[in-house]
Amino acid sequence: MARKASNTRKAVVTIAAWSIGFLIFFPILWIIILGFKSEGDAIKTPLQVLFSSWTLDSYYDVQARSNYARHFWNSVILSVGSTVLALAIAIPAAWSMAFVPGKRTKDLLMWMLSTKMMPAVGVLVPMYLLFRDFGLLDSRIGLVGVLTLINLPIVVWMLYTYFKEIPGEILEAARMDGASLKSEILYVLTPMAVPGIASTMLLNIILAWNEAFWTLQLTTSQAAPLTQFIASYSSPEGLFYAKLSAASTMAIAPILILGWFSQKQLVRGLTFGAVK
């Protein structure tokens, strides 16, 4: 009886989990479907959309109109570049906050997080003027810097949380064995925090890949990533859903694939501590 109840419960939970998962994934699925429809069919009712003919026309149109490769390459450089830079700054910072905290460490952490609460548009004009004066408009270097800075608070916080769960005694033991600070961070701390660093890295890549305010405001053509590629297919007047969906699918596909292959590390990093 108990086994039966347990099985029923398991089935209900499984169905509920799949349903919620499907619900969350549905908008992406619908975008993928619309990308294979004609513009005329894409605006019909959902049932009519499903049973209308399939076509690759939107993909051909998008390929013919836009330089996907250039946008894609810019996205890769911006997301990977800003992630590497953020980790290079955040690992020592988080180590210091976790293992040698000062009186103001908590305040500092809160202040870092509070910068995320400010609407980006609030600093658009000063930022734009800085970029103009330093000749950084439409440059990948400038954007890597901005993306690093806007994601840095999250990276530091995540790493700080992982590092906090590593027993200080392990590092102490390393120090007693004569490890220098560099060796301690590189050969003791980092290997133990690999799951946490990996998940932080993946999350940061996703955040940088999807960032759509600064990447649209500070680029024109040479440094424009996939966010601008998508934005060029939207319009308040006209038929564009199919092409927009095709462009969106092409833009999110790389990050979806990356997420699919690294989901184990991502979930493990997000749900477990460093040494559990």
Binding site: S38, E39, G40, I43, K44, T45, R65, L124, V125, Y128, L129, F131, R132, L137, D138, L216, Q217, T220, S221, A224, Q228, A231, S232, Y233, S234, S235, P236, E237, G238, L239, F240, Y241
Partner: protein
């Protein structure tokens, strides 16, 4: 040895000079994603053949993203763009600010006098033309001829709002998902407020009196909003408060709307048999009026302007002159047919017998000609603009008022409450901005 050196030196100088003469100027054009603009990107061979030393780099963005992007760039003199696609809302404001290069010196063969007066007037500030119109539009009534015939009605070429109401009632059959009229309801200065401001002009309403005092407490605005809500509640589709251009286009193409009053550019979509199930059943009429001398249609032109900060004025002017020329219209007609020519900018296009065969050509011209951005309302106003007020504050104000009116359509507030809220918020903002002393 000396000879060899001289020869090398000579060759280097020649190469440098050749390089200089062949130097390519690259201009960056910021543009919106609409059919006519995208078509132009595919027809650039003609421009390159005539201007081999100019290369064009395109930045295509969604309208509102583009507006924010180019506003930031031009206000900070960022110099990222050499040609901007801007509308009749921006040109008077930016022209006055000195942000745009005057186009009064375009060559004689450009024939600036051929531009439609209403459109040209909207792009001119103190006698200076600050942008060249690429494509112009107004709004008009698109209706189902078959449903009108079945109801025993005839649509006049220039209907009144009462006639529209009668037709909407006759064509509505909600049980069959057949709605007499589809209008914009989605909140936004370029969404429901474009329609409602134009409609209010025909009712004798205005946004401000000559002293910039908001007029939402007037009888004319009350009549406008009351009639709009009655039309939509009685004969409109469900959930209309979320409908903009694209949603209504979809409904009309599926045969669910008896009438749709919206941009003239929609005519090419609803008459295209590939996408529209009612392509051969659509008739056109001027936007309605109430006999007060103004019709409820708007006026808009996507135009090409040159920011004052660009270092490539000559190349930018060459591009603007080509893209908005009579010759460009012929290039489009030769490759894509006359129905795909960007409409609403030149009188010569409407005099062309080939273009006159396009079913919506004459009605588009009549609609554009019946709007006057410099005298948009029955009573005098201190502003320019038919469906907008050409002041920098209008984007925010228009959207805030649009949210009130959209809420009234959704049924969460009454027409009176929406108008009172609009009056309060516009008065507050205009006082804060210094218009009201």
């Amino acid at each position: 040895m000396t000879l060899t050196l001289r020869a090398l030196l000579g060759a280097t100088v020649s190469l440098t000079l050749a390089g200089a003469t062949m130097a390519e100027t690259t201009i960056t054009v910021a543009t919106v994603n609409n059919g006519d603009m995208i078509r132009m990107q595919g027809l650039m061979d003609d421009f390159y053949a005539k201007n081999p030393d100019i290369k064009v780099e395109w930045v295509t963005l969604e309208e509102n993203v583009l507006r924010q992007r180019v506003t930031t760039d031009i206000a900070t003199k960022g110099g990222q763009f050499d040609v901007l696609t801007i509308g009749t809302y921006e040109v008077p404001i930016w022209g006055k600010q000195g942000w745009l290069v005057s186009l009064n010196d375009l060559p004689a063969e450009y024939d600036v006098d051929d531009l439609l007066p209403a459109i040209r007037g909207g792009l001119t500030v103190d006698g200076e033309l600050f942008a060249a119109p690429f494509y112009g539009e107004s709004s008009m009534v698109m209706y189902r001829k078959d449903l009108m015939e079945a109801a025993g009605l005839t649509m006049p070429d220039a209907p009144t709002w009462d006639e529209i109401k009668t037709a909407a009632a006759a064509m509505t059959d909600k049980s069959a998902e057949q709605y007499g009229i589809c209008l914009r309801g989605k909140a936004g200065w370029g969404e429901n407020m474009a329609f409602l401001t134009a409609m209010s002009n025909s009712y004798g309403a205005r946004w401000f009196d000559e002293n910039w005092k908001p007029q939402f407490d007037s009888e004319a605005w009350k009549a406008t909003l009351t009639d709009y809500l009655a039309l939509m509640n009685d004969y409109g589709p469900p959930g209309a408060a979320n409908n903009g251009f694209n949603e209504n286009l979809s409904l009309f193409q599926q045969g669910k709307c008896g009438m749709w009053i919206d941009a003239t550019v929609a005519a090419s979509f609803v008459t295209n048999p590939t996408d529209s199930s009612v392509a051969d059943k659509v008739g056109f009429a001027l936007a309605p009026d109430t006999g007060k001398g103004k019709r409820g249609n708007w006026l808009w032109a996507w135009s090409l302007g040159i920011p004052a900060g660009t270092q490539k004025v000559d190349a930018a002017k060459a591009f603007v002159a080509w893209a908005t020329s009579k010759e460009y219209l012929e290039v489009v007609a030769a490759k894509e047919g006359w129905a795909n020519v960007p409409p609403g900018t030149r009188a010569s296009l409407y005099a062309n017998p080939e273009y006159q065969k396009v079913p919506f050509a004459q009605m588009t011209l009549d609609s554009i000609n019946s709007a006057n951005p410099n005298e948009p309302t029955v009573d005098p106003v201190p502003y320019v603009g038919v469906q907008f007020v050409a002041i920098p504050e209008f984007q925010g104000l228009g959207t805030a008022v649009g949210q009130q009116f959209s809420a009234a359509l959704a049924g969460t507030m009454t027409a009176e409450a929406a108008l009172a809220a609009a009056q309060t918020l516009v008065t507050t903002e205009m006082t804060r901005s210094g218009y009201i002393k």
